[in-house]
Subunit: 418 residues, 2 copies
């Protein structure tokens, strides 16, 4: 079979499996997830062995230490994956809930029932733990999944997928409910993205380049965010200690993630007192600052930010800083340079807190808290399948419910339209 | 300005308008809609005059009577449009609702707030009333709209849009909240579909050809259905009188719409008694039948259905009929040939009613009622912006709420991640 045939076959099988999986009971899904969790731990040696092949290749290819670190699967990492599966088993099942059931004047009883999307395609880079995580979230939400990981982790991904599929073999759930594309040929991705009759949703997880390529090629709906250029606005009425603590946390606690702050906006009336305190904290944490002219008039050793800096997602210990005249100017900056991901205001002013919450239409907007809370677990979704900055279907962190949809169900007793 | 520049400018202005419109109060939006309703009635002579130009062109071009009928705007039709606007004014505003506000263990108060999508692009054919209807639904839900109607109705569409924009001129809502593409050049559509930075959603309304072309070109999410191949399954336990009444209504009450029945599936144990009753009703209503071999063994003068017939959306007084052995065979037929639009079962059997509701994953599934109820007004949404058979964001008839999304809003008091 050529690649097109192989991938099409995968889509066809996934759709068939999805039809069966949609009506599997919660208790069966949960027990399968717990068995998978155990199977991963039992299969540690096998996974670590396959992972070693990826690591060797990565070293040969001269990948950066950061990239190699993301690839490593040791016993601890595998235990973490296994625990993740057990946590997903413990979450409530979104499938089957019926909402808004109401009687119409003609006696029809009309409601909405939550159902799985069907087949979800995940296209991801680097971290092999996504294989287990995404497969488990799809299974729990009643969806068949087609996994397509990066070539750098292919052996690790295949090993994990084989273990999960091995568990399915012993159950009533078809093994094809979880499938992984075995070839690393890029043609497989472009073929996959044409299967709109078989795949209901594509979720790309990785760098902006991967995501843009997927969006441009896909005929299937895509949930994604390109990048997270997250802002904190320190209002003139902010508590300086709170503002400094939150800013440091948002930038430096884990700088390589999409909900880390990339630009700090400071009201001019608090800049003189706040910026030196903040700069000292950032200096100790090894954060390099880039500032506007007014920032540099206060912090003299800071380098100049260019226009390009305001658009930048550094994903690193670098921060751009701008002094603004007002909350309006701060919000206009966010509107112009932001990515609709996550923004926070630090303020003691009631009206400004409400204005910021109402007028900033990013997917997550916070008052007096770190941007790092923009995360499915932290916001109470129980799990996270990614973050969407596209407003359709899901906006912000996505949990199990975002992997489902609703259909109308209608009970009648002979009604016709007149 | 060339077309690309013009369309890009339209997108840019729409996005700017959307930012302002998102925070306009419900009472202002409602009073503007009522003024628009009055303005349409006052502008009847102007609209009818412009409509005459479209009709003349249509006759010159030799368009079919059915197509010309869809184009006609007389005083009654304009009054209908105006009443539609008043009805939209009377609907509840979905924007601003906050749901699921809960306190997290760390004290963060997390909820979801409903917000407009932003900018919606509507690409439609024929019926000029869509201009008023779509503009009003977008305005009510806080969205800016870019309208692109068909060339056959261009003068009518422009006349209606000018009247609506004339009302906006006298208000605080920017006139650019409603824009219409003035050129009929097709390049305008392909340029519009590239504006993913300005337009949040595309809704095509028209024939399958138009919709497929839009989906293939668009980089922006599209909500659509290609066609409605709707089924009714008459189970062996069906009440024959009810089954015949509902079947006739579903096929013949308005055959040219997407929720009309196209294929009737009949359980073999009821076929002998049901089919002759049904055929007689259909004969009187002028419905032409196409049947499978088993149907033709009972109804001898019925022509043979081909494999292609089971996929067909006739949109006409034609119906394909198939006798099946079981509910499983009926559901398998729907799965294979259906369009995920609307399906109904006629039954007196409790278990079969539940199986059909659970296992048929079309966007609307009914028991003992006509498929014609798959409609926003009929299902209680108050209005309808179209029907989606794509599972993402909205599945089934779409009302005002489907033109919105939610963002996370978070109240903190200094929380950081640890």
């Amino acid at each position: 079979m050529d690649i097109k045939e192989q991938v099409t076959r995968t889509g066809y099988e996934a759709k068939k499996a999805a039809g069966l999986l949609a009506n599997v009971s919660t208790s069966v899904k949960n027990s399968v997830l717990l068995e998978m969790s155990e199977a991963l731990v039992k299969g540690s040696d096998y996974i670590i062995g396959e992972n070693a092949r990826d690591l060797e290749y990565a070293k040969d290819k001269g990948l950066s230490d950061a990239m190699i670190n993301r690839l490593i699967l040791n016993e601890k990492a595998i235990k973490g994956m296994a625990e993740g599966l057990a946590e997903i088993a413990a979450l409530p099942d979104p499938v089957g809930e019926i909402t808004g059931m109401r009687r119409r004047p003609n006696g029809l009883l009309v409601g909405k029932k939550r159902i799985p999307l069907g087949v979800i395609g995940i296209i991801y880079e680097s971290r092999p733990n996504v294989t287990a995580d995404a497969a488990a979230l799809c299974l729990k939400s009643g969806n068949a999944v087609i996994l397509r990981g990066g070539s750098e982790a292919i052996h690790s991904n295949l090993a994990i997928a084989r273990i999960l599929k091995g568990v399915l073999k012993e159950t009533d759930i078809p093994e094809t409910a979880i499938q992984i594309i075995e070839t690393t040929d890029r043609e497989a991705v472009s073929e996959m993205l044409k299967l709109e009759d078989y795949i209901d949703l594509i979720i790309p997880r990785g760098g902006e380049g991967l995501i843009r390529a997927v969006v441009n090629m896909s005929r299937i709906p895509v949930l994604k965010h390109y990048k997270g250029v997250c802002h904190i606005f320190v209002d003139e009425s902010a508590d300086i200690e709170m503002a400094a603590t939150i800013s440091l946390n948002a930038k430096a606690q884990r700088p390589g993630v999409c909900n880390a702050m990339e630009t700090l906006l400071v009201h001019r009336n608090i800049a003189e007192s706040f910026l030196p305190v903040m700069a000292e904290r950032f200096r100790k944490a090894g954060v390099r600052l880039k500032g506007c002219d007014r920032t540099r008039a206060i912090l003299r050793d800071v380098e100049a930010a260019t226009e390009a800096d305001w658009y930048e997602e550094y994903l690193d210990l670098i921060l751009s800083v701008r002094v603004v005249d007002s909350i309006e100017e701060a919000m206009a900056h966010i509107e112009k340079y932001g990515s609709l991901h996550t923004e926070a205001i630090i303020t003691s002013d009631y009206n400004n807190s409400q204005r910021f919450l109402n007028e900033v239409n990013s997917s997550t907007v916070l008052v007096n808290a770190s941007t790092r809370f923009s995360d499915g677990f932290e916001l109470g979704l129980g799990a996270e399948m990614g973050i969407s900055t596209t407003k359709l279907h899901a906006f912000g962190p996505m949990g199990l419910e975002e992997l489902t949809t609703t259909k109308f169900i209608i009970y009648g007793n002979g009604q016709i339209r007149t």
